[in-house]
Every structure is written in C-alpha cells, then in structure tokens.
C-alpha cells in the first residue's frame, strides 16, 4: 500500500453507490441508483440534462443526504459523514459551475486543497515557526513541482483566478483537487464550455491522472466523444434511474441509451451524432 510521509493511504479507491434514492419535495431526483467506480479506472456517468447526475455527485460528496441507500468508499460506509470528513478520506471533486475562490491567486487556490492533510495549529500559525513554516514550504514545493508543472499552469500561478479563461479555471480546479491527495476524483463536466484544443488537453490530463497518479476517476460528462475515448466503464442515468451500464462500446450500442439521448431507439443514429460531434 502506498503511503505518504504522514501515513495517509494513497492507493486508488473504489466507490460504490448502492440503491441511492433522493427526493426534493415530491420530485424523485434519484431512484435506487446503484453503480461502482472501480479502483484505478475512469468511470463516466452520462445522461441527458436533469437526469440527476449532479445530484448523484452531491450525495457522494455529502451535500445531499439520500433518503435511502448508501455510499461506500472502499467498502466503508460514508453515507453519514460530513463533506470535510469525506475529503480527508480521499474524495476530491470539481464543480459543474466552477467553485474556485475568485479573489485568491491560482497558487493559493491550489494550496487550499491540502488543508485536510496539514496539521499546523493556531499557536504554530501565529508564530510561523517549526511545523507551520515546514509544512508551508513542503506544500509549496509539491504544488510547484508536481501539480503546477504537470498541468502546465506555471505562467498563471500568481494571477487571481477571476482573470483566467474558463478553460484555465477548470484546469485550476483540477489542480486544487489533486492537491487534496485524492484517492478518487469526482469531476462534474470537466470539459463543458471548452474548445476542441482545451478539451483535448483536459482529456490528456485526466488520463495521466489515472495512469501516473494512480487515482480513480468518476466523471459526469456531456461530451460523448470524450466519454467514449477515455472511460473504462460507463453508467447511464435517465430520469433518476440507471438505464444502462458497461463498456463504452456496449453502452453506445444500447437502444435504451439512444432512446434517452435522441428520443428514438436507434443506436446507429447516436453513433452518427457522435461521429459528427467528434468531427466538429
């Protein structure tokens, strides 16, 4: 088992969503949703708008409490834990509509990711000696040498986030998530609103995160081309229910999926649309 110097577990985690049901008032946003994101794999969660994908993410990270069902991280039931606790256990997420701290610099945003793994206490912080200074220096080095370098954001490290393009902000959000030493990364629409080139960069980063960093990934994504290219496993959600899951090729050929996306049950039409999207 890979451990960091503080003894934290750094192996990729397996995430299981088990029979999760969630309602808002009368609306059943999720009905008995079950799927597993296997350790060390990229799992995609797809489905039309309003299908409940973000709601699933919110159940996983602890913002919503499902009315029934469980969320398991490596077999450990985390359903009752608050978000900060889940973060320390190795869950990191990015948001559909970027949730960076706009006034802070890129570097400070990324550093924030490490919060839960640092131990500086109040007295040490006031004096900024001993552990405080050591931890900050270590963090700075790791952020610079591993994360900023890897994501190719050296040139913007001291800029406030608010002046960055959308694509770069998404990348900074990924950087911040990586600083959390995650064992599983939850990405909510990581390439939404990006141009072709930015999307390709992001796809490369996501693959590298899986392969070089050994982190499991669960992502919600609308870009079907990206989903089919990089994911190992796909789960399809429609009206709060899982309607299909399997390998990307299997899911593509599933008439239910074509039905959900196009309103007709013809997988050929779906594939044609995918091809068109990719060419665009």
């Amino acid at each position: 088992m890979a451990n960091d110097m503080n003894g934290a577990d750094l192996t990729p985690a397996e995430l299981t969503v088990e029979d999760v049901t969630l309602s808002f008032g009368g609306i059943k946003a999720l009905q008995s949703v079950s799927f597993t994101a296997k350790a060390g794999q990229i799992t995609a969660l797809i489905g039309p708008n309003g299908a409940g994908k973000t709601s699933v993410f919110n159940c996983i990270s602890g913002f919503y409490r499902p009315s029934s069902g469980r969320v398991l991280l490596d077999g450990q039931d985390v359903t009752g834990l608050r978000p900060p606790k889940r973060a320390v256990l190795g869950m990191a997420r990015s948001f559909q509509n970027i949730a960076l701290f706009r006034g802070m610099t890129v570097l400070d945003n990324i550093k924030l990711g490490r919060h839960g793994h640092m131990k500086t206490n109040l007295l040490q912080a006031f004096v900024y000696a001993g552990r405080a200074a050591r931890e900050e220096e270590e963090l700075r080095r790791e952020v610079e040498e591993r994360i900023i370098d890897f994501l190719e954001i050296d040139h913007i490290r001291n800029m406030p986030v608010s002046v960055l393009s959308y694509g770069l902000q998404k990348r900074v959000e990924l950087a911040r998530a990586l600083a959390m030493r995650p064992r599983i990364l939850l990405l909510d629409e990581p390439v939404a609103g990006m141009n072709r080139e930015e999307t390709e960069d992001m796809a490369r980063f996501i693959l590298d995160v899986k392969e070089e960093w050994g982190i499991s990934i669960l992502m919600v994504e609308h870009d079907m081309g990206l989903v089919m290219d990089i994911s190992d496993h796909v789960s399809v959600l429609n009206f709060g229910k899982v309607i299909a899951q399997g390998l990307p090729a299997e899911v593509q050929a599933d008439p239910h999926v074509a039905e959900a996306y196009l309103g007709s049950g013809d997988p050929a039409a779906l594939m044609k649309r995918l091809a068109a999207e990719r060419a665009a």
Partner: protein, 347 residues
C-alpha cells in the same frame, strides 16, 4: 546543488517580506516606532497609544469580518470583557500584567465562541444583529453583576506595574502597548500564511466549496470568532491599563461601529487595511481639529462655525473613501508601491 537552491527559493517565496525594498521600509518603520516617543510631545504620545490599541482591536475584527466574512457589531463588547478581566485581576489577585492581558484575551475568546455559535446558521445582517444582541446582554451583565464589575460606577485600575515600577506616564505605557500591538499584528500576518488563514478566506469566499476541501465550517467559524475576540480582549486589557477605569459605558455600540468603519475604510481582508483604517479613524478627527485651529484666525466667530464643519468633513471623508476607494486605504498604498516599483533601490 540544484535541490538546495530550489529549497531556498520556496522558503524565500513563502516569507512575509519578499522583496528587499519591503524589508528596508519595514526596518525604517520599526526604527521610527522606537524613536517616536523621544520626539513627540505627551499629547501625541497619548494619541499614538490610542492608535495602537485601536489597531490591535481593528486587526481582530478584520480577521473575523474582513477575512472570514462574518460581520460583527459586538467587537467593542469583547474589548469591555478584556478590560473588566484586567480590572478584576488587578484589584483582586494582583497577578502580573502579562498574565492579566492574556487572561483578558482568553476570557473574551471563550465568550466569542459562545457568541459565534449562531454563525453557522445566520449570515450577513442577521449575524450583525445577533452580535449586537450579544453586546446588549454583556452590557446588562456589566451593570448588574456589581459584585464582579462594580456596577454602574465600574472599577478603578491600579497602574500597570512591571518589575516593581509603576507605569503612569504615556511614555512608559507606550513601551508596553506598542510592542504588544506589534506582536499581535505580526501574529495575524503569520496566520494568513498558513492553512488556517487560507481556510478563513475560503469560508468568506464560498463556504460550500470550503467544505469539500476538508474545512469543517463550524469549527473554523468559531475559531475565527475566538481569535477576533481574543484580539478585542487584549486590546480592551491595554485600554484598561491606559485609562485606568472601566465602566459599562466605556465601550458603547459606537465603538463597534467605529472599528467596523476602520476596517472598511482601511481595507477589509488585508492586514495593512486594519492598521491604516484604525490610524485614519483615530487621527483624522484630531488632524481636522488642527486644521480648524489653523484657519480660525482667518474666519470671524470661528469656534462656533467650524466645529460642526469638522464633524461633517470627517463624515464626508469616510463616505468619499467608500465611493472612490472601495478597496480601502490599503489599496492606495499598493498602487503607490506598484508606481514606484522598486524605487529607490532600482529605477
């Protein structure tokens, strides 16, 4: 060796003062703080001590309101708690002044945690009202718990004693008040170089994503409240040694508003802002008084005419700053710094 150099660079990058000019300016500033009491008269020494006390209090409020985004209008009440703590300890136990000052901070901090409890649920104006309510309750306690607080007449405090010497002059008190304030400001500056300070800012900017990053909101909001109250308590303790009497009316709601105005005018969420705001709010009325005295020979019946003008100008200055410099005085300093770049060390 490359690794050695890299290490040096990161440490240097993380230091409080990153450029040579910054260090030189700070050294000049520190030297002037040391020289000041030998140069100015007693009246200005009095004002300087008052400024220092207000800087300490404003810096505390800035941590809570400017950095963590929790608005408080109860800050003066925690100063009162600190002042009463010092008064009680001095008159009842006679413990050393530094013990009393720290105790003042700790008692205020404990109460601050209590008052901060609603902050998880209520925000903005509602929290401000809750803190006003808390300060009314504290005021009630000051008036009615006369066994401890001396009721409406308050408590007289013996002079601060250090190695058997009684500090009764402004000159001698300066050497306690100023160093304590400097340490408090440095502590606050350090705080925001670490994970705790970053967590406060994260809570201010977006508390939902702060939680996802592993920051427990309640714990950090209460921590911010307790630090801010600790600062207020220490400042109140210094105040008690300075004025030597504390009554329930020593720290009215107006003082809380004064401190809030100070951080807004100075610049919320910057350490420099708290300092500049407190300096401005304390000294501007005095400078305006000098201005009025200076032009009064030129105006007939000046006394009656000009004293309201002074108040109006002070108010107008504050409004002016809010409109033209919403980021506060600290932003002006930043702009000047950018303008001069590294002047005069490099041109």
């Amino acid at each position: 060796m490359i690794i050695g150099t890299a290490k040096e660079t990161y440490r240097a990058d993380e230091s409080l003062l990153t450029t040579q000019p910054q260090r030189v300016w700070l050294a000049i500033f520190a030297a002037s703080l040391v020289a000041l009491p030998f140069v100015v008269n007693d009246y200005w020494l009095y004002l300087t001590c008052l400024v220092a006390i207000n800087v300490a209090a404003a810096t505390g409020l800035n941590i809570l309101t400017g950095f963590t985004g929790l608005v408080s209008l109860g800050h003066a009440a925690f100063m009162a708690v600190g002042a009463y703590t010092v008064a009680w300890l001095e008159t009842n136990l006679g413990t050393p002044f530094w013990v009393n000052l720290i105790a003042a901070g700790l008692v205020a901090a404990a109460l601050g945690i209590l008052v901060g409890l609603p902050s998880l649920k209520v925000k903005g104006l509602y929290l401000a009202i809750a803190t006003i309510a808390a300060s009314f309750i504290l005021h009630f306690c000051f008036v009615h718990f006369d066994g401890i607080t001396g009721g409406a007449t308050g408590i007289n405090i013996p002079p601060l004693t250090i190695f058997g010497a009684e500090l009764t002059t402004y000159f001698s008190l300066y050497w306690v008040i100023m160093p304590v304030t400097v340490l408090m400001v440095l502590g606050a500056a350090n705080l925001f170089r670490t994970r705790i300070g970053r967590a406060f800012i994260a809570i201010r900017d977006r508390d939902i994503s702060a939680e996802v990053l592993g920051i427990p909101l309640l714990r950090y909001k209460l921590m911010s409240f307790s630090i801010a109250s600790f600062y207020a308590g220490m400042a109140g303790g210094l105040w008690a040694y300075f004025f030597r009497v504390v009554t329930p009316e020593s720290f009215p709601l107006l003082t809380s508003i004064f401190l809030l105005a100070a951080i807004i005018v100075g610049g919320m969420g910057t350490i420099l802002g708290g300092i500049l705001g407190a300096v401005f709010m304390t000294l501007a009325p005095e400078l305006l008084r000098y201005g009025v005295e200076w032009i009064s020979p030129l105006v007939p019946n000046a006394g009656a005419l000009l004293s309201p003008v002074r108040t109006v100008v002070f108010g107008a200055l504050i409004v002016g700053f809010l409109i033209f410099e919403p980021q506060g005085l600290a932003e002006i300093i930043q702009r000047i710094r950018r303008f001069f770049r590294l002047w005069p060390f490099r041109t």
